[in-house]
Amino acid sequence: AQSVTQLDSHVSVSEGTPVLLRCNYSSSYSPSLFWYVQHPNKGLQLLLKYTSAATLVKGINGFEAEFKKSETSFHLTKPSAHMSDAAEYFCVINNNDMRFGAGTRLTVKP
């Protein structure tokens, strides 16, 4: 069965520094991968999706993710964190059933 593992339950960065949220996947097939974000007391919002057209995927709010088949990873990055990025982030794998990772809570310190 396919699955994703988010390697950090909590990441804390200072405003203006880079963000790295790590996700590894397990799949027998070429996967479809997504990142979603959930701000406190808000709904889930799609950040970006990997569709095999390009290994580096750009999303909203300056986030991007790189698909690395050799490392079975799909890590989310942003060059410079903003206070408004504080939220919970979910990596998701799809093979006709969308399965979520456990989430990474991002804290941004002033």
Partner: protein, 114 residues
């Protein structure tokens, strides 16, 4: 814009009650999903459906059932509610079985079982 509507935002039920959570989408989506969200566990898939009258078990189907009599409506049923089913329940839909179809979420139902 796609709208996924969950019938209740907050619900309080007693142990042993039969509970119905309703979800309606207005964009003729084929796929519908039910998740529960708990702190530290992310979203866990309970059931999903590709078409009317079709259902597939997710990771945690025990204690739940679903119904999809019409394409736009996907109901989650707790046959006999228990306190460990206290959670946030999220319904989602996606257009079709293409692998890159993103999910559209409802606002969630926070269920408390006492």
């Amino acid at each position: 814009d796609v709208k996924v509507t969950q019938s209740s935002r907050y619900l309080v039920k007693r142990t042993g009650e039969k509970v119905f959570l309703e979800c309606v989408q207005d964009m003729d989506h084929e796929n519908m999903f039910w998740y529960r969200q708990d702190p530290g566990l992310g979203l866990r898939l309970i059931y999903f459906s590709y078409d009317v009258k079709m259902k597939e078990k997710g990771d945690i189907p025990e204690g739940y059932s679903v119904s999809r009599e019409k394409k736009e409506r996907f109901s989650l049923i707790l046959e006999s509610a228990s306190t460990n089913q206290t959670s946030m329940y999220l319904c989602a839909s996606s257009p079709n079985r293409l692998y890159n179809s993103p999910l559209h979420f409802g606002n969630g139902t926070r269920l408390t079982v006492t």
